[in-house]
């Protein structure tokens, strides 16, 4: 489903953060090479795993700028598995120590 051997980086604006089961998703709007907006569906773990790593439902909001590292879908669709997310001010999201329970 995901190509872990060819990870890539995307920078864009969050349209929606779906804090849902069985997976969470970030809908990220990214400008393509021709300057046209494209929406990517970025899959994450279930809320229990995000919560354990310090994420909360409010950690990512619509309008946030993010740079993400993903393992893209093998079929070439605009989607992938989110491996890392960094905010516009350079803060990596994802470790429990950064956002105490």
């Amino acid at each position: 489903m995901f190509d872990a051997a060819h990870t890539r980086s995307l920078t864009g604006t969050v349209r929606e953060f779906q804090w849902t089961n069985p997976h969470s998703y970030i809908q990220l709007v990214v400008k393509n090479d021709r300057g046209k907006d494209e929406e990517w569906s970025l899959e994450m773990g279930a809320p229990v795993y995000l919560y354990n790593q310090g994420w909360r439902r409010s950690t990512v909001k619509a309008g946030d700028r993010l740079t993400v590292t993903i393992a893209p879908l093998r079929n070439g669709d605009k989607g992938g598995l989110l491996l890392k997310a960094v905010t516009a001010d350079g803060k990596a999201l994802g470790k429990a120590a950064e956002v105490p329970p």
Binding site: F2, A4, E16, P22, A46, V48, Q53, N75
Partner: protein
């Protein structure tokens, strides 16, 4: 039945009075019964597999490294080819299957965060997939064989040996709707677990599996857990927003509903 309960009550009284201060000629109070039990509070997760924000282990997407799926079981030589084919088919099917939980014994690997509720009569073991095991410790026995039926979590009876919970489990259903399909055992498999807390933040499990139809010798598997550092509550799984859809031989992500 009354005689068995009385014997259990006296045994319980002797055990508890060794652990707490009370006269051995009377039944322990409710508070004394609870005070004699180990503290397994908190939310526990596997030492071997820590799940990252991706939903996969932080070490990579190369699999969960589950011991019960790892193919290290002493499978009888004449069954190895058949079991390997069955396992490969199950793994392929699993990528497209909507599992309702992990079932037993896979849930005990602890990849899905889990909780133990220890009471004098039973220990409840549950995880984020809503798998639930009732481990009865009040002296009751398994149902007679002719009255048992296989279920995904088996039929479990337990007793305490000091601070170790010893569990005897039979009648485990290896059903396709649960991940337990990946373990190529029969419904006659017999499981004996020894679970204990080994430190403030650690627990250990030894699981012995006997299944003479499949295994050439008993298979002993060990797991260990630590307290999940970021979890102060268990957030259970449902399928409210299942966007994984089949496309050809694989899965892809369905567009958002909005």
């Amino acid at each position: 039945m009354r005689r068995r309960k009385m014997a259990y009550g006296l045994a319980m009284a002797a055990m508890l009075c060794a652990a707490v201060s009370c006269a051995p000629d009377r039944a322990p109070t409710r508070a004394e019964q609870f005070a004699a039990l180990p503290d397994w509070s908190g939310i526990w997760t596997s030492d071997a597999t820590e799940i990252d924000i991706s939903g996969y282990p932080a070490a990579g997407m190369g699999g969960m490294g589950l011991k019960l799926i790892g193919g290290k079981a002493p499978i009888k030589p004449e069954l190895q080819a058949k079991m390997a084919a069955q396992l490969a088919a199950a793994m392929a099917a699993d990528a497209r299957r909507k599992a309702e939980g992990w079932g037993y014994p896979l849930m005990m690997e602890g990849v899905a965060p889990m909780q133990f509720l220890v009471t004098p009569e039973e220990t409840l073991i549950l995880n984020f997939y809503r798998d639930i095991r009732h481990v009865y410790t009040d002296g009751r026995q398994h149902l007679p064989e002719e009255d048992r039926w296989p279920v995904p979590w088996g039929d479990s009876m337990g007793h305490w040996e000091g601070d170790t919970l010893v569990i005897d489990t039979v009648s485990v259903q290896l059903d396709a709707i649960f991940h337990t399909l990946l373990l190529p055992l029969t419904e006659d498999a017999h499981f004996i677990e020894r679970i204990r807390r080994t430190g403030p933040d650690h627990m250990e499990v030894e699981m012995r599996i006997e299944d003479p139809a499949v295994l050439s010798a008993p298979w002993v598997v060990n797991f260990s857990y630590h307290k999940a550092k970021g979890l102060d509550r268990l957030i259970h799984n449902v399928f409210e927003n299942d966007r994984s859809v089949v496309e050809g031989d694989s899965l892809t992500i369905a567009p958002p509903k909005d």
